[in-house]
């Protein structure tokens, strides 16, 4: 039966700095931001949209008439962010507002730095506070400030050299923080791994032995339940030799990624085969787990450093042919 301890979970961060290409409309908008200016674009209905849009929000027509607008504007609506989160424009409490810049017909969404919600009101006049360093991104606008505030007397944004190359791409970091949970069945298996045991489970409907065990047997749709201890010996069903390096890779190539069918299991899993020349790994090769030192064990299949050849004769085709 599945254990009574709660399922295992662990932090799981997923992040990438995306490189966005901008094209003929967003590119000039980004270039202008870098140079301390704001561009809008005229829509089919003559409205000026800020930020620019490539395609008309009503008709879908491709737009191309760029117009410069002011860096002063009026708050159309707002809300208060009392605890800023990662990536937001300010690291202290601030207002989010839709701001219609003078010369624009649709508002821009950005932050307003007023110190307190009491100082925010719809209809208030605000102006852009430019970021000290600008690269051609919406974050070149550090935030907005009240138009009549002391900070509004900051010097104008210095114009960038006119011969600076146009901005064509923008880098957008996207980093998310999740908590990954294992299923109850997988948790039992992982806790057994911590003790150096390979714990599979049998599906009571089809009698197949799954390792890792499953929250649902994929052929029957019911959880696997009956525990089955497996030995750490098995057969290589098939494999590939990974020669290609890639971002995020945690094992240095070249390495053999092989499907291992443990003795007594009804499904193979992927692991590493080392301990012989990659060219000598064969379908049907008999292998045994090489465990990391006991003090390094935790709730992971990485406790098994790799599988190595046992030296036995290869398994007969029919013992694994149905697992390819």
């Amino acid at each position: 039966m599945t254990g009574t301890s709660p399922p295992l979970s662990a932090p799981f961060d997923v992040g990438f700095d995306y490189t966005r290409t901008l094209g003929p409309v967003l590119g000039p908008f980004a270039t202008a931001l870098r140079d301390g200016r704001v561009l809008g674009i005229r829509g089919t209905d003559r409205r000026v949209h800020v930020p620019v849009v490539e395609f008309d929000p009503v008709t879908g027509d491709a737009l191309d008439e760029l117009v410069e607008v002011s860096d002063f504007g009026t708050v159309v609506t707002w809300t208060w962010q009392s605890r800023p989160s990662e990536g937001q424009p300010l690291d202290r409490s601030f207002a989010w507002a839709m701001i219609r810049l003078d010369g624009a017909d649709t508002p821009l969404l950005h932050a307003v730095d007023t110190g307190s919600a009491e100082a925010m009101w719809t209809g208030m006049r605000v102006r852009i506070r430019w970021a000290d360093e600008r690269s051609g991104s919406i974050t070149d606008i550090a935030c907005f400030v009240p138009a009549d505030s002391a900070t509004a007397s900051e010097p104008e944004a210095p114009a960038a050299a006119s011969d600076a190359a146009p901005v064509t791409t923008v880098v957008t970091p996207i980093h998310l923080h999740l908590r990954h949970s294992a299923s109850a069945q997988e948790s039992d298996y992982l806790r057994a791994l911590e003790q150096g045991r390979l714990l599979a489970q049998r599906c009571t409907e089809c009698d197949k032995v799954y390792i890792p065990p499953r929250g649902a047997c994929p052929t029957c749709g019911v959880p696997t339940t009956e525990p089955v201890e497996l030995p750490d010996t098995g057969t290589v069903t098939t494999f590939c030799i990974v020669n290609v390096p890639f971002l995020g890779q945690r094992i240095a190539p070249p390495y053999v990624a092989a499907y291992i069918l443990l003795d007594g299991a009804d499904i193979a899993f992927l692991h590493l085969v080392l301990g012989c020349d990659a060219a000598h790994v064969r379908m049907g090769m008999r292998v045994r787990a090489v465990w990391k030192p006991r003090e390094d064990w935790s709730t992971t299949m990485e406790n098994i450093d790799h599988f190595a050849p046992t030296g036995e004769p290869d398994a007969a085709d029919e013992t694994y042919a149905h697992h390819l």
Binding site: F16, F55, A182, N243, V244, Q249
Partner: protein, 390 residues
């Protein structure tokens, strides 16, 4: 085929490249959409509904990008759906769009699929290892290479068959003005000389990573009957799914692909695909999948697909030209790759395939697969209206 008749009125695609640095995501999609509408001689006002397909949102870092793309797709005020069935999604998107017409929900539907892989890195996105898992994954190539090995062993195919496919598809790609790779000097020997990336898969036997988009415009019978140019009638569609792994699963010749093919041939009234289908656009991201899918689809007996390839039957002038467009091996904007297969099939039967047109093609297969060879989607299109009237 079930429901009301549906036809492809037009299709369009972008020039595919490893980095389309001249356009945004919306601009990329729109390039394909504008070409498809022009090909169909329609404009946005004629479109009743839009279906967008793409592979994982993590590729571009935009959650449900159809929301942002509504303006670029001319979808405002209209129904807009987003399909995601892994690598088969481009095909599934076309099939869902077809069903909207077949089910009588809409008369003219625009289906769009894209991927802008250069915004991130597909190998990264496909190899994210969550906690507790063994970080052995090495992208799509690492996933499929062991199954290719199993095929080679099981079928007894000679080692060079993969190279035959790669050389053929790349040379076909040279005839396709939109293809990412256009290499007319590739030979079997030159493929065999390239590096083993995921042994047994060599560099030249793998698809490129592309930015690109594809769009098709589908219409009901009345619209198709009035069309100025010959439409491609949809004779059958099929989609089948099985779990990624299960005990006893055949990864080389998956049940789901066989089941989808059986459903497709049965709907279309086809009893001998090899003699009744004139051209096939099959999703072949790694060269060995051509013989594997020939068997899975029923064009060849199990373990003998490689003989069809080796005999030259899948060449542009062969019995069953496969991937005259150059296929996925010549362009692979993942989310759009399936729709490109479907669109190219339609182009063949409506005589619009240009330099890679197969003479006299009247019946064509579009095929896509995804996930761990577990999602299959296909359609069969023809020059003739189903039921035999021309």
């Amino acid at each position: 085929m079930a429901g009301q008749l549906v036809a492809v009125l037009g299709s369009g695609q972008t020039h595919h490249a490893s980095k389309r640095t001249d356009v945004s995501i919306a601009g990329l999609c729109r390039e394909a959409v504008d070409r498809a509408l022009a090909d169909a001689d329609l404009d946005f006002a004629d479109v009743d509904a839009v279906v967008l397909g793409k592979a994982p949102d993590l590729f571009e870092g935009v959650m449900m990008p159809e929301l942002h793309l509504a303006d670029a797709l001319g979808a405002n005020g209209k129904p807009l759906m987003r399909v995601h069935t892994a690598g088969s999604v481009g095909g599934s998107t076309a099939n869902v769009a077809a069903s909207l017409v077949q089910g009588g929900a809409h008369r003219r539907v625009l289906a769009v699929a894209f991927e802008k892989q250069s915004e991130s890195n597909a190998m990264w996105a496909l190899s994210i290892a969550p906690p507790f898992t063994m970080p052995v994954g090495a992208g799509a190539g690492g996933y499929f290479a062991p199954h290719v090995r199993a095929y080679i062993r099981r079928s007894g195919a000679p080692d060079h068959i993969g190279a035959v496919v790669a050389a053929k598809d790349r040379r076909n790609g040279a005839l396709n003005p939109y293809a990412h790779l256009r290499e007319n000097d590739v030979s079997v020997d030159s493929v065999l000389e390239t590096q083993m990336l995921w042994d047994p898969i060599r560099f030249a036997e793998t698809c490129p990573s592309s930015d690109g988009a594809c769009a098709v415009v589908l219409g009901d019978e009345a619209t198709a009957d009035r069309a100025a140019r010959r439409p491609a009638w949809v004779h059958a569609t099929a989609m089948r799914t099985e779990p990624t792994t299960f005990s006893g699963r055949d990864h080389v010749n998956p049940q789901a692909g066989q089941a989808a093919a059986r459903a497709l041939w049965s709907q279309a009234g086809i009893t001998d695909p090899m003699s009744e289908v004139d051209v096939a656009e099959i999703y072949v991201p790694f060269s060995w999948f051509e013989p594997m899918w020939l068997e899975n689809l029923g064009f060849a007996e199990p373990d003998s697909g490689w003989k069809v390839t080796e005999a030259g039957d899948t060449a542009l002038d062969g019995r069953l030209p496969v991937n005259p467009s150059g296929g996925v091996l010549s362009s692979n904007p993942i989310g759009a790759s399936g729709m490109l297969r479907f669109a190219e099939a339609a182009m063949q039967v409506s005589g619009r395939a240009g330099d890679h047109q197969v003479d006299g093609a009247r019946t064509a297969l579009g095929h896509a697969y995804g996930g761990g060879s577990q999602y299959f989607s296909m359609w069969l299109v023809g020059s003739d209206k189903p039921g035999g009237t021309r």
